[in-house]
Each structure stands twice: as structure tokens, then as C-alpha cells.
Symmetry: C2
Amino acid sequence: MGITIQEASRTSGLSAHTLRYYERIGLIHPVDRSVSGHRVYTGPDLDWLVFLTRLRSTGMPIADMCRYAELRRQGPETSAERRRILAAHRERVRERIARLTEDLGVLDMKIEMYDTREHT
Amino acid sequence: MGITIQEASRTSGLSAHTLRYYERIGLIHPVDRSVSGHRVYTGPDLDWLVFLTRLRSTGMPIADMCRYAELRRQGPETSAERRRILAAHRERVRERIARLTEDLGVLDMKIEMYDTREHT
DNA sequence: GGTTGACTTCGAGCGCGCTCGAAGGAGCAT
DNA sequence: ATGCTCCTTCGAGCGCGCTCGAAGTCAACC
């Protein structure tokens, strides 16, 4: 019941070093330990890691993720605040996508110019 | 004919420090100087800066931009290679957008869970 | 002539997010 | 018992992309 840090690393895509780092900075709560002091990751731990990597890959700063993690530990009465954080982040992601899409268009044009030999 | 570094900074959105840094690392060719040794930016310089900021905002590493800049300085015979670089970068931008869009969907779902109080 | 202010070069420093290595402990195989 | 492997903590280091500050030059204005 529960997996080692190496297995958690494989399934989450984060290095063991990074998993310990995340725990150290409070991004994940102190993970259970085996009798020998080794970390034991459970299903909910992995779910949380997956969600964290989503937030990271969408560019949420570690500090914001820590804030969110802390609120989560404080219980259900912080859910409105957590929702607010996610909604604000969602807005930033939307803007990011819009910006990237626009830049992609420019890139397309530039490449087209190379194809028609009109480039500088 | 030509503008100062402060004006170039305003129009490009890059700080004067950053403009000098870009020149230092070869991202922009040595800019013309006035009699007193001050940088004088011209139209083509600004166009190039605008394009560079597009590449940056789409996440191209500085090193790749330097490579592209160097090829550009080498003349028209490098245009095939430059096209290749841009096309490869475009592909990465497309993947980035796809990934962000997917993550956005997950974010939407998560926020919806907060709204229906089914969240954990 | 003196002051102001924008410019110059150069090298050091910073913030972020890891990433790594040293030093040591526990469990298992031979 | 001797390795071997995987884990532990701790603190230092790194790569990227700037960012800043010191010290000096020069032009323009009062």
C-alpha cells in the first residue's frame, strides 16, 4: 500500500530530487514514512502531484502553488479563495494562448516569406 | 535619422540594459554610433527587435535566437537553414498551444467542481 | 565654468526552479 | 560480514535571462 519515491518519480515525471524539494518548500504535505524512514506515496499524493504538474506546465509560479497548497491544507472554508486563485490563473492561461496564437500567425507569415523568396 | 537607446527601449518594450545585453551577446548586430559614441537605432534595427521579441514571447531560447541572427548576418545563402529553424520553432509553438488548451480544459473542470461543491 | 543628465563599458548579482553531491543509514544477497 | 542498492538530510551550485551599479565621458544648458 503505497509506492517508493522512485516509483512516484516515474509516474509523475518529476525527479526524486524534485519530489523532495517540493515537500521541503511545502508544495506537498509531509509524505508518510515507512519504518525505515523512507517516503511512501499514496494514491491521493499522486493525484495531487498530477494536478501540480498541470499548474506548473501552465506557468503558475511555485509561490502561487504553495499558497494554493496551504489553503487546501487549511480545509473547506478556504475553497472560495482557492477557486478565485484558479479562476485568475485560468484567465492568464487564456491570455497566454491568445498571445501564442497571434505570434504563431506572424511566424506563419514569416515562413511564407521565405517560401516566396520575399524575405529580407 | 535614428533614435536613442531610451527611445528604442520605449518602442521595443525592452530596457536599455537589455538592449545593450542583446548586442553584447550577438543577438543584434553592432548598432551604429553617433559622434559621441552613443547608440543610434534605425528602422530596420527596430523591426528586428520586434521580431526578436516575438520569438522570445513564444519561448525560443536566446541561444537559438543567436544562431538565427548569425545566419541572417551571413546572407541569403543561409535562408533555407533559417526557414528550417523557424518551422521547427513553429511546431513547438503549436504543441505548446495544444498542451495549454488541454490544461485549460482541466482547469475548467476543476473550477466547475468548486462551483458544484464536489471538490476535495 | 559648473552642473545636469543621458549615455558608455564592464563585471557582478539576482530570482526562479530545480539539480546535484556528499555523507550516512537500512535492507537484502552472496 | 561484505557488498550493493536505495533511501535519507543538508546545503551548495547551476542555467537562464536578464538587471543593476560603479565609474567614466560627453553635450547642453544656466
